[in-house]
Symmetry: C2
Subunit: 317 residues, 2 copies
C-alpha cells in the first residue's frame, strides 16, 4: 500500500513509519515539525519508498499519486503546561489539527477511496469515573477545562470520523491510544517518562506533580505499533468502532519514578510539586475489545521497555 | 454597534436580528439558507441598517466594514432523523459549522477586536446524569453516538471559544440554549412543538416518540432573546463562562402534546412511535447563574407562549 501518515515525524508516528516501511509499504509523511522532529526520520533519507512533505494539515493537504490508506497522527500530545511543545502552549494549533486536520485528511481518504485510521486518545475519557475504561464509557471531560483544547479536539475528531464512515462510507478505524513510552519521546515535552529519565540520567531529583498517587498504565511503543498495524489491517464486524490500545499494567506515577531511579542508579530524592489542574487521577485501559478483535495484547514488561528507553536517552544526557 | 450574526435567517437568529435592530444596532446576517429561511427576514428588506450575505461560514467569511460584535448562531439544530432539515440528515455540515464555522467567526472577532457570542446548547450535557443541569456539569455525551455530530461540534465550539478568550484575549460569551419555541420554527424540521402544532391544526393525531415520559423545559423565544441580549451586554467577572438560558419549567413531552391539543381543540388521540436512539430522558436548566449574572429569568407562561406560536402557524396550516 501507499500510505499517507500525518505526524510521521513525531514519537508514535515515526515508529509507525518505520514499521510500515519494514512491512513493505510506501509511506508519505506530512508533518509541520511543530512538535515532531526530523531527527526521528533522518535515517530514512534517500529511500525511494519514503517521501517527506513539510506541511500543516490544518491548513491544507495535497498528496500527489495514489493513496491507499490515511493515518492521522498529527497533534501536540503532551499535557504539560511548562513545555513549549505541550498542548497547553499550543492550544489553537491543537484544536485545529484535531478538527480541521481531521476534516482535511478524511477528505483525502474519501476522495481516494482510502482506508482511514484516526489516532485518538484515552484523554477522550477525561478524568474517568469508571475504572478501568472500556470503549463504551462516554467519558468525563469538561468542555471548557484547561485540557479541553486536546480532549474536545479528539472527541470531535472521533465524531467526524464516524460521520464520514456512516454517511460517506469511508472505511475508518479509531485507535484510542493510552500512555505510551519509548525511544524518540521528546526530552523537553514534559511527559512523565522522558522527564524522569532525563532527570535521572543527570543525577537530579525526579519531579512528581501532586502526591504521585495518580495512576497511569504505560505501554511500550513496539507493543502499541503492533496494535495499530493490526487495527489497520483488521476486517469484519466491529472494526469501525473505537479500540483501546494500551497496557493494563496500572501503576502510580511515584512507583514509575522509583523504578526509573532504580534502573539508572539515581539516588536523588523525589521532588514534589503542585498537582496539575484537571490531571486525571486514574487511567487504565480495558483491552478486551483489542484482544477479541485483533488478537492483541502488550507483551513488553515495564523494566525491559524502560531499559531500552533509558539507553536511547543516554546519548542526549 | 455593527453586529455580524451568522444563522440570522434561522428561528432564533431572525428573532435576535429583529431585537438588535430594534435596539438601534446595525446587523449583517450571514446565512447559507440550508436550514434558515428568507421568509424570516423578508420584512427587513430595504433597511439601510440591515445587510444579508448568503454565504457558508464553514467555508469562508468576509465582512466588509467595521464589526463590533460577532454572534455565531449558524447550525442545523433539530435532532429529528426524519427531517431533511435536522442534523441527522446534515451530519457533515453540522460538524463543519460547529468547528470550522466557529473557528472562522472567532477569527473575525479576533482580527476586528469585536465581542463574540457563541450559541451553544444544552445538548453539550448529552443525556444528563445530574438534574437539573448547572454550568459546572461536564455532561454525558457519547462521542460516536448518533447525536454526536451536533453535540461534539458544540462542545468543540465551546473549547475553541474559551481558547480564543484565554490565549488571544477575545471578549467571548457562551450561551447554553435549552429548548426554545415560538413563531418561525420550521414546520418541517421535526421538533416537538412545531410538529405537534402542525398536526393539531390539521386535526391529526400528535406523534409522540417513546412513552412521552421524557421531559423537556420549553422557553418562549422572546424570553430567550432577552437573555441573549443581556449576556451580550454583560460586563465583569464570570461573563466569559458558559451561561444556561432556558426555562426551568420542566414537563413531559406527553403533557406538552396534551396542552397543544387543548389549546387548538384537537380531539385526535396521541399516536406513539418508537423512541429516538440517544434521546435525552430529562432536561432542565439550572438558571441560577443567569439570574445572578444577568438578572434574567423567563417570564412568559407556557399557555401564552403556545397561543402565540399556534397563531403564527395558522396561516401555514
Amino acid at each position: 500500500m501507499r500510505i499517507l501518515l500525518t505526524g510521521g515525524a513525531g514519537f508514535i508516528g515515526s515508529h509507525l513509519c518505520d514499521r510500515l516501511l519494514a512491512d513493505g509499504h510506501r509511506v508519505v509523511v506530512v508533518d509541520n515539525l511543530v512538535t515532531g522532529q526530523m531527527s526521528n526520520l533522518v535515517h530514512l533519507a534517500g529511500r525511494d519508498d519514503f517521501l517527506f512533505l513539510k506541511s500543516d494539515v490544518s491548513n491544507f493537504i495535497f498528496v500527489p499519486g495514489e493513496v491507499d490508506a490515511v493515518l492521522h497522527f498529527a497533534s501536540p500530545a503532551s499535557p504539560n503546561p511548562r513545555s513549549p511543545f505541550g498542548y497547553p502552549a499550543l492550544p489553537i494549533p491543537t484544536l485545529k489539527v484535531g478538527a480541521l486536520g481531521t476534516h482535511h485528511t478524511l477528505g483525502v481518504a474519501h476522495s481516494r477511496g482510502a482506508r482511514y485510521l484516526l489516532a485518538s486518545t484515552s484523554e477522550i475519557y477525561g478524568d474517568p469515573q469508571v475504572h478501568p475504561q472500556d470503549e463504551t464509557y462516554v467519558g468525563h471531560v469538561d468542555p471548557i477545562g484547561p485540557r479541553s483544547v486536546y480532549d474536545e479536539a479528539k472527541r470531535f475528531a472521533e465524531a467526524i470520523t464516524m460521520a464520514y464512515h456512516r454517511f460517506h462510507g469511508v472505511d475508518t478505524r479509531i485507535a484510542r491510544i493510552f500512555n505510551t513510552y519509548g525511544p524518540r519521546m521528546r526530552a523537553d515535552d514534559g511527559r512523565a517518562v522522558p522527564n524522569f529519565i532525563t532527570q535521572a540520567l543527570a543525577g537530579q531529583a525526579l519531579t512528581v506533580y501532586g502526591t504521585g498517587a495518580q495512576t497511569r498504565s504505560f505501554c511500550y511503543i513496539d507493543d502499541l505499533i503492533d496494535g495499530l498495524v493490526r487495527l489497520l489491517a483488521a476486517e469484519g464486524p466491529g472494526v469501525h468502532e473505537p479500540v483501546n490500545l494500551g497496557n493494563p499494567n496500572e501503576m502510580t506515577v511515584l512507583a514509575l519514578a522509583e523504578r526509573i531511579n532504580a534502573l539508572t542508579g539515581n539516588r536523588s530524592p523525589i521532588r514534589y510539586e503542585a498537582a496539575e489542574s484537571d490531571d486525571p487521577q486514574q487511567r487504565q485501559p480495558d483491552i478486551a475489545r483489542a484482544r477479541a478483535l485483533l488478537g492483541w495484547s502488550p507483551s513488553t514488561d515495564l523494566d525491559a521497555g524502560l531499559r531500552r528507553t533509558v539507553d536511547s536517552f543516554r546519548p542526549r544526557a
